[in-house]
């Protein structure tokens, strides 16, 4: 087990720079999730850590060793690929044992390690089968087993669950988490799915166009996004962003959104001056309806017109238009049956609002 450090890591393909100097410290035993939209460079970062892609600039170290020039097989990292990359002509046993065979481990050690991994992953009945005779979920387990038997310093996962159906994905997510709790191997996990990121990560790294946007715990990036991109990328449905203008009157701080005026709690947007434009971010679950709004101060209330409502079982999603111009998505508890066109009272948890600079889209302290 080891920590992984990236210092100013750059990747260029020809003249095109796709990773623009990334700094990241992954601590020992940590489960880091790299998340970002497709094409932002997640796989490239992972492959540079694995040594499958040369580094154009900067430095990567694993443990205390700079590995820029170390070949993949000597980095002691194991990788699980999106399409599993199992050897089709080998049985499950041979697939899992291949790395040990290449490292000239004894037969006994190979057998016992493969057996152990197969037991944990419940693959024992399938050891003599070929990958083509397994289901997607089983193949996924074999791929994980192949990584596990090596007892690597670092696990690298590149979208390992994207080829599974939704139910299996949820199940495997849990198992990944359990596996990490048991093995405690330092893990870098790449996904474009923010739910996977939120549920698996000790810390999330949000990547966009080869730049790191934010590094933080799932709660941190959810509640305190660094910028509008992170705010909208993390969380589903995404955060509502409204354009507003900051104002001060009689020592009271407020924000004007369209014709409505709402108070700004202390501690938010302290650097703002009267008349400054800003963006207000509100999580869908910070919008309340029905009796839940009673707990909020009266001046946090307003009225909105329901456009669409979707009941998702335990909670409901509503699209609401406020003041005839600002569209909001609200995620409310219970089965709220609201008819399109209905005008309903809603309340905002303004203590949870996030303010952004409209120029830079960065969060305002």
């Amino acid at each position: 087990m080891a920590n992984v450090d990236l210092k100013g890591v750059v990747k260029r393909y020809g003249n095109v720079e796709v990773i623009h100097g990334i700094d990241l410290s992954v601590r020992e035993n940590e489960f880091i999730v790299l998340v970002g939209p497709s094409g932002c460079g997640k796989s490239t970062v992972l492959r540079m850590v694995a040594g499958l892609e040369a580094i154009s600039g900067g430095e990567i170290s694993i443990g205390d060793r700079v590995v820029n020039q170390v070949s993949p097989k000597d980095r002691n990292v194991a990788m699980v690929f999106q399409n599993y990359a199992l050897y089709p002509h080998m049985t499950v046993r041979e697939n899992m044992g291949f790395s040990l065979k290449m490292r000239r481990k004894s037969r006994e050690e190979m057998d016992s390690r493969v057996q152990e991994a197969a037991r944990v992953l419940e693959l024992e009945p399938y050891l003599e089968r070929k990958p083509s005779e397994l289901s997607g979920g089983q193949r996924q387990r074999v791929a994980m087993g192949r990584a596990m038997v090596r007892k690597p310093d670092v696990f690298l996962f590149d979208e390992p669950l994207s080829n599974l159906d939704a139910q299996l994905r949820t199940q495997m997510r849990m198992e990944l988490r359990k596996m990490h709790m048991r093995l405690k191997t330092t893990t870098i996990y790449v996904t474009h799915d923010q739910i996977e990121a939120m549920t698996l990560a000790d810390r999330i790294v949000i990547l966009k166009d080869g730049h790191i946007q934010q590094v933080g715990s799932p709660i941190e990036v959810f509640e305190k996004p660094n910028n509008v991109f992170v705010a909208r990328f993390i969380g589903n449905p995404p955060m509502n962003i409204l354009e507003g203008v900051f104002g001060v009157e009689d020592g009271k701080r407020f924000v004007t959104v369209g014709p409505s005026r709402f108070p700004v709690p202390d501690g938010k947007g302290d650097s703002l001056v009267d008349g400054a434009p800003m963006l207000v971010g509100l999580r869908p679950d910070a919008i309340k309806m029905g009796e839940n709004i009673e707990r909020l101060p009266k001046d946090w209330w307003c009225k909105g017109e329901v456009v669409v409502s979707e009941i998702l079982g335990g909670h409901s999603l509503l699209e609401i238009v406020v003041d005839g111009q600002n569209e909001l998505i609200a995620e409310v508890e219970g089965r709220v049956v609201a008819h399109p066109g209905e005008i309903v009272p809603i309340g905002f948890e303004f203590d949870r609002m996030v303010l952004f600079d409209p120029e830079t889209t960065n969060a305002l302290s």
Partner: protein
């Protein structure tokens, strides 16, 4: 229901012309050749309008394998075996080797690929002529060393009369058992590291038993011939083998290169992370994955080598006993000696040998398709 049968009728009618043509011109003629091989059509009067053909059973075959005068044919068969084995090893080995080099994406890969594939587009007569010149006793390859100040080679590539690996045809059965034992033991040793028990049971055990039997019980095996007759690997065929390997290596290279390109980058990366060196990647991952390609190459090359005719004709002519081949012998027997029945028998022998390679392949293909 009615529509289905109408569809079937249409399909049948569409296929009918080719069924008839293949039936007559392939299977009908094979049948006719079999029939002729069982007669005594030949010798004087064989070109008469209505030649005499009497049924003689397997006499022609018996003569070919045990006859006093058919030693030439037996040497041709031995030539064909060595020729096949060396062409397979050479063309597959060299083709695979070039494919591996090109798979590593050197500069100018596409140009090189075309260059290596190019010999395929030549006819055997052309490449045979080129190689005859290259392998001439006092030219081409033999004078290469003189360019660096060495003495010229004196090896007679296509006209040497030396032979190696000589054996007595009388001991044919014993030798075949030895070869079988040798192959079994070789495969067994290779498989031993992976699964000792299976290797012992399937390969090593039978190999050792057969080998021991051939060694101890060799004297009770029947002799294949009433007299001593030595055959061996004629060195003069080396030149022809080289030329054919040269012509076909590009073809196997193209097969393997396409196969290597079809292996996903992820698999290669996985192997690298698993600790496989480049060599280990090809040995344990890429080449085993391309087993179907290897099998196809073996089938194609072995039946080509069994039908080999024109390149030998072009390089040494049909009458050079040293470089003879059953296909050439068939031609000479049939059309020079007018011994049609004997020629037909040779054709059928070749046909059966080729079938030995191809039928198992077709059966396994058919089974696979049924399963898939």
């Amino acid at each position: 229901m009615r529509e289905a049968s109408l569809d079937r009728l249409k399909a049948f009618l569409t296929l009918l012309p080719s069924i008839v043509l293949v039936g007559v011109f392939v299977y009908g003629f094979i049948g006719n050749t079999v029939w002729i091989s069982l007669t005594d059509w030949g010798g004087s009067g064989s070109l008469a309008v209505d030649p005499q053909k009497n049924y003689v059973g397997l006499a022609n075959y018996a003569e070919l394998f045990t006859g006093f005068l058919a030693g030439g044919f037996r040497q041709d068969l031995v030539n064909a075996v060595f020729y096949s084995v060396m062409l397979l090893a050479g063309a597959i080995g060299l083709g695979m080797f070039i494919a591996i080099l090109l798979d590593r994406k050197p500069k100018g890969e596409d140009v090189l690929r075309t260059i290596f594939l190019y010999p395929m587009s030549l006819s055997f007569i052309v490449s045979g002529t080129i190689w005859r010149w290259l392998l001439a006793p006092q030219g081409g390859v033999n004078i290469l060393p003189t360019y660096v100040g060495l003495d010229p080679l004196t090896f007679e590539w296509t006209s040497s009369t030396k032979a190696v690996l000589e054996f007595n045809w009388q001991n044919l059965f014993q030798i075949m058992l030895y070869v079988a034992a040798f192959i079994l033991i070789l495969v067994g040793l290779w498989a031993f590291r992976n699964d000792p028990r299976k290797a012992l049971k399937r390969w090593l055990g039978p190999g050792i038993v057969i080998g021991a039997f051939a060694w101890l019980g060799g004297s009770i095996l029947p002799q294949a011939l009433f007299m001593e007759e030595t055959h061996g690997f004629n060195l003069a065929t080396l030149g022809i083998i080289m030329a054919t390997v040269w012509q076909y290596a590009g073809y196997t290279m193209a097969l393997y290169l396409a196969g290597f390109n079809g292996i996903s980058q992820d698999l290669r990366d996985a192997a690298m992370l698993d600790g496989a060196s480049e060599v280990a990647y090809y040995r344990h991952v890429a080449i085993p994955m391309l087993k179907p390609i290897t099998i196809s190459a073996v089938i194609i090359l072995s039946h080509i080598s069994l039908k080999m005719f024109d390149i030998i004709f072009a390089m040494t002519g049909p009458d050079n006993a040293q470089t003879g081949h059953p296909a050439l012998n068939m031609y000479l027997t049939t059309f020079r000696a007018n011994d049609f029945a004997r020629g037909a028998a040779i054709a059928i022998v070749l046909f059966l040998v080729a079938a030995m390679f191809i039928v198992p392949y077709l059966v396994s293909q058919y089974r696979q398709r049924k399963r898939g």
